[in-house]
């Protein structure tokens, strides 16, 4: 089940890749049902806040008609930054599942441990389809380098 939902997040990440965006995708799930999807569109929308997670969170809140995303889980292929991690905490999500760690901006474990600092009641699981996410990001950075 976890792999299935992370595959959905990777499909979203692929959409970002096709637009020339850093390939990050997110999916919000509640009771094994897909609530919302999102992918990084920072360049396309010219919006510094248009990360996959923020887009998926906004859409989930619209769909569920409230900003509290209790009982929801978010799947992201890459470790969230502090902006997205705090949005996940503030939206009262139950669980964050991510694939690959992000050494430069990752705010769950890598650059800082925001959920710990914030004393957040957020379950966290990492490493789901990590290799697939790594390959996609390498493909992206190779493309950038060859440009």
């Amino acid at each position: 089940m976890k792999e299935k939902f992370m595959h959905l997040a990777l499909e979203q990440a692929n959409k970002a890749f096709e637009l020339g965006e850093v390939p990050i995708g997110a999916v919000v799930i509640r009771n094994n049902e897909v609530i919302s999807l999102g992918f990084n569109m920072r360049e396309t929308l010219k919006d510094p806040t248009a990360h996959a997670e923020l887009i998926a969170i906004k859409r989930a809140a619209q769909k569920l008609q409230g900003w509290r995303l209790i009982d929801c889980e978010i799947y992201v292929n890459v470790e969230p930054c502090a902006m997205c991690c705090e949005a996940i905490i503030q939206s009262r999500m139950k669980k964050l599942i991510f694939g690959l760690r992000e050494p430069k901006t990752g705010a769950v474990y890598s650059q800082l441990e925001l959920p710990k600092i914030r004393n957040a009641k957020l379950e966290i699981e990492e490493g789901i389809l990590e290799e697939e996410s790594k390959r996609l990001l390498q493909k992206f950075f190779n493309k950038i380098r060859n440009k």
Copy 2:
């Protein structure tokens, strides 16, 4: 000049207050010119990401047609949370000016020092119209309590 721009942020915060929202307002300035305004609309928009700063940042990026808000300054009446603080850092703003510290979620100095952790090239100034902001927040919490 700083007081004038913080007054604008407080005017925005008052609009949030009128809607029953936590009274926080933000203004983005470049070369002493107002680029964008925003106020907290989390309840109204049912959106956990609809903080004053994020709204003002999105609008500034739309207006300037790019996600890099170089040479921009953001005025907020209250210390930003980690979501907004990271958005300010990632949008490459030059300076953050805020009024009142926020002991529970403030991510500039209070709960964590995100700009320091992130090694961000962001100038920071605090305390501008701090008392005005304190009074507005106290008015808000008194109203909530009497409900």
